[in-house]
Each structure stands twice: as structure tokens, then as C-alpha cells.
């Protein structure tokens, strides 16, 4: 594991950004070449949301990976968070523009009437302060403790994101449940486990 960590230390953060934006690049390429299938809007919207959830999983995996596997990826976590925010924001933008086509009356009705939309929007809104406070300057201004407290909202984002995905499914089966289960597991791994006390006797 030391060698893996040594390797990870040498990987620049921008490389993670480049890698993480490959799916977005492919989606854009498919869009301009008309290769998103018969319902391109739905494919784009769904895939962007899907990548949002996947990067959220990676964000939340950083701490357990360090704790249980000794793998230290902490230097990539900010980038992973911002990448998650990017995909989720684009997912929302596609919903408003290409899917609902700026039909504001329907968008407004959805935002107050549809639980899965409300849950998804709540998750997005909760991500905004986290994205805004992701700079070193913001950490200094807030102070480390306050910053850490604020960023615990990520756990709520995870719950809301998983719920949003599960609630739109028509059947209790498949990807939504799998992703929700992984997110739940990553949250459970954060619960304080009873430590075996060293005995002096």
C-alpha cells in the first residue's frame, strides 16, 4: 500500500480532473454526432445524473479507504467534490433546458409537487455552499472546524442523491438500489466503531 500511496502522491490533481471529465467529453461528442440514441435528452440527463452519483460515491469513499485500507487519496477529494457538483449542475441544467424546455409552469409545479424533484433539488442546493467554500481562502476564512462542520452536509447530499435516484425508478430493482446501497454503506462505515481498549493489567 505504501507504493500505491507513493504513486498517488505523484499524480497531479489536474490529472484527476482530466480523467473525470472524459465521460462529459464523450457525452458532448455523442451529442454533437447525434449518437445519444432515439431519446438523446433523456440519455444525456440520466447519464449526467448517473456520473454525479458515481463521483459522490468516490468522494465518500476517500475516508473509509484511508481508514480501512490505508489508501490515502485525500488530496483528490476537493477535486472529486467539485466534479460531482459539475455533473449534478449539468444534470439539472439539462432538465430545465432540454427536457422541460423552459416550461416554467411545469418546472414550478414539479418543484413543489414531486417528491423526487424536491429531494433532488434539495441535494443540489445543499451542494452550492460546499462548492463555494472549496477554496483554501474559504477554509481559512471559515476556520478548519467550521469548514469541517459545514462539509458534513455531504452526508445529507448523499442521502438525498440516493433517494432521488431510487424514487424515480419504476421497479425496486437495478442501478438505483445498487448505488443507494453503496452510498449507505459508505455512510455506515463512518459510524464510530467500538474500539478495543488496550489493557494495562
Amino acid at each position: 500500500m505504501d507504493r500505491v500511496n507513493a504513486f498517488a502522491r505523484r499524480v497531479p490533481v489536474w490529472a484527476v480532473w482530466m480523467l473525470a471529465l472524459v465521460p462529459l467529453g464523450l457525452l458532448i461528442l455523442q451529442a454533437v454526432t447525434n449518437n445519444l440514441g432515439p431519446d438523446p435528452v433523456k440519455t444525456l440527463e440520466r447519464d449526467l445524473g448517473d456520473w454525479g452519483i458515481k463521483f459522490l460515491i468516490l468522494c465518500l469513499a476517500v475516508t473509509p479507504l484511508r481508514r480501512f485500507a490505508g489508501l490515502n487519496l485525500i488530496k483528490f477529494r476537493r477535486a472529486l467534490g467539485l466534479i460531482t457538483f459539475t455533473y449534478v449542475a449539468l444534470h439539472l441544467a439539462v432538465w430545465v433546458s432540454l427536457d422541460l424546455a423552459f416550461r416554467w409552469a411545469e418546472i414550478g409545479a414539479d418543484l413543489v409537487k414531486r417528491p423526487y424533484i424536491i429531494v433532488g433539488m434539495a441535494g443540489f442546493v445543499l451542494m452550492i455552499p460546499l462548492a463555494i467554500t472549496s477554496s483554501n481562502a474559504a477554509i481559512r476564512r471559515l476556520g478548519g472546524l467550521n469548514w469541517r462542520r459545514l462539509h458534513k452536509a455531504t452526508y445529507a447530499v448523499a442521502v438525498l442523491g440516493a433517494l432521488h435516484f431510487v424514487m424515480i425508478s419504476k421497479v425496486w430493482w437495478g442501478d438505483a438500489l445498487l448505488h443507494a446501497a453503496i452510498l449507505l454503506l459508505l455512510l455506515v462505515l463512518r459510524l464510530p466503531f467500538p474500539q478495543r481498549k488496550a489493557s494495562l493489567a
Binding site: G37, D39, A101
Partner: protein, 263 residues
């Protein structure tokens, strides 16, 4: 090569590749590309449909027998999925009433119940408990006898592709797509309203009638508008039409009924 029908829409049909690569057929998986991916494993010959219940001539009818003398027509219908997308499909089929009249509907019959093939070894979705298999649907007898209601056996003048419900499926164009049950192996004429799969699964979301109705929302999403499949990234949405545009033909079937209650 098939007779044209006065019931066909003059809207342009979606190309065959869209109709055959983007649809729901949960027996083959829950992604809309899954039916095209897996349905080739389905054996559709030999095929027979068991017709029973309150009929004069119950029995197991082979497909060739069912098609003998059936007045096949091209029916270009609008198709509206409950998920708020739509297509235009050039079906080849014949009126369900033709078959029902052949087998002789008895006076006590009020509904028709349909069942899809149950064959998990060829239908991987049926190996999951996602739905209570086999898939079941039903129509009120007057809906079943309506001239718009057809049993379809082809698309674009060719035999029905497996992923679209080969070899014989129902098409009821004024209802959400899930009513148009695929790969039918059983039809029963019954006195009581039959259980139907989506209604059994989520009764507050999927009613027995499932008529396309822009004023009655699905509890989780609006039915006011729809995305036309194949229209591209920037096409936006179009307003959903009452009874999917077939109001003139079918509204009378529901006169006096509260459609918000009987959704």
C-alpha cells in the same frame, strides 16, 4: 402491401431503428436498450394463444389459425408511454373484435384479461422479482371491441420484431403504452375486472384504465407534456393530447365517469 386504414394518423412514423431500439419490455431488462439486446433469444414459433373464459369456442389457437382470414391493415398510431415520451408507430394488425367475434363472446363477459408468455430461461427479466410475472393486462369489453383496438403482428410491413412483442401483441392507442401487452399467450373473457400488473404493483400510480390524460398526473411526474422520441436534443416537448389524440373516437366510452378517479 397492407390495406391502409382511416384510423391511421398522418403524422410521420418514427424510423424502424428507433421503434426497435428504444422501448420498455421488462421481461428482457429494465433499460430501454435491453429488449433489442436480449429479445433475439425468444422462441416465437410455434406459438399459440389460449382463449378461454366466457366464450363459445374456448381452446388453444395456433398463430396461423388466429391469422387465417384476419383483415390485416396498416395502422399508423400515436404511441404515448406513461413515462411521458411518445412515438408514431406503423403497426400491422387486425381489430381485436374480429378474433373475439370468431370465438364468440358470451353475454356474461364484461372484461378481457391478457397474459404475456412466462419463460424465464428466454426472458432474463423474469428471473428477477421486479414485477409479479407473468405480465397481465386487461380491457373492458367495450374497449376491447373498439375498432381502434388491434392485435398487431407486424411493423413497417414486416413480422413483429421480438423486442416489440412478437409474434402477437395488443395495441390500444389512446392508453398509456403499458396497457398494450406484448407476446400474448392467454386471453380470458371474464365478468370481473381483472388484475393488471402495474396496478398490482403500484395502484395509486397505474390505474386499470390508464387512458392518456394530460390533466391527470402520474403521482411522481406530470402528464401534461411529452418528449417525442427521435425529435433530437433541441425539440423540447409537445403538449399531451386527451386520449392521446383519439378523443373523438373514444371519449364516449367514458361518458359520465370521473377520469381523475378512474385513472
Amino acid at each position: 402491401e397492407y390495406a391502409k386504414s382511416k384510423y391511421s394518423t398522418d403524422e410521420a412514423p418514427n424510423p424502424l431503428n428507433e421503434i426497435t431500439s428504444y422501448n420498455n419490455y421488462y421481461e428482457f431488462g429494465f433499460d430501454k436498450a435491453d429488449p433489442a439486446r436480449y429479445a433475439s433469444a425468444l422462441t416465437t414459433d410455434p406459438w399459440s394463444v389460449e382463449i378461454g373464459g366466457l366464450v363459445d369456442k374456448p381452446g388453444s389457437y395456433g398463430l396461423a389459425d388466429i391469422l387465417k382470414g384476419a383483415p390485416l391493415e396498416e395502422r399508423i398510431y400515436r404511441f404515448r408511454c406513461v413515462e411521458a415520451w411518445s412515438m408514431v408507430v406503423p403497426w400491422v394488425g387486425f381489430e381485436l373484435s374480429h378474433l373475439l367475434n370468431r370465438v364468440g363472446v358470451q353475454s356474461g363477459a364484461k372484461y378481457v384479461a391478457f397474459e404475456t408468455l412466462m419463460r424465464p430461461e428466454e426472458m432474463p427479466g423474469q428471473q428477477t422479482p421486479a414485477l409479479d410475472w407473468p405480465y397481465r393486462e386487461g380491457l373492458r369489453l367495450d374497449e376491447a371491441m373498439h375498432p381502434l383496438t388491434i392485435l398487431a403482428t407486424g411493423l413497417y410491413g414486416e413480422p413483429m420484431p421480438n423486442q416489440n412483442g412478437a409474434p402477437i401483441r395488443l395495441v390500444v392507442p389512446w392508453k398509456y403504452g403499458f396497457k398494450s401487452i406484448k407476446s400474448i399467450v392467454k386471453m380470458s373473457l371474464v365478468a370481473e375486472m381483472p388484475s393488471t400488473t402495474w396496478n398490482m404493483m403500484q395502484p395509486n400510480e397505474y390505474g386499470f384504465y390508464a387512458n392518456v390524460n394530460p390533466t391527470v398526473d402520474h403521482p411522481r411526474w406530470s402528464q401534461a407534456s411529452e418528449r417525442r422520441v427521435g425529435a433530437g436534443l433541441f425539440a423540447g416537448r409537445e403538449d399531451t393530447r386527451m386520449f392521446n389524440g383519439y378523443e373523438a373516437e373514444v371519449a364516449s366510452l367514458y361518458k359520465g365517469m370521473d377520469l381523475a378517479v378512474n385513472y
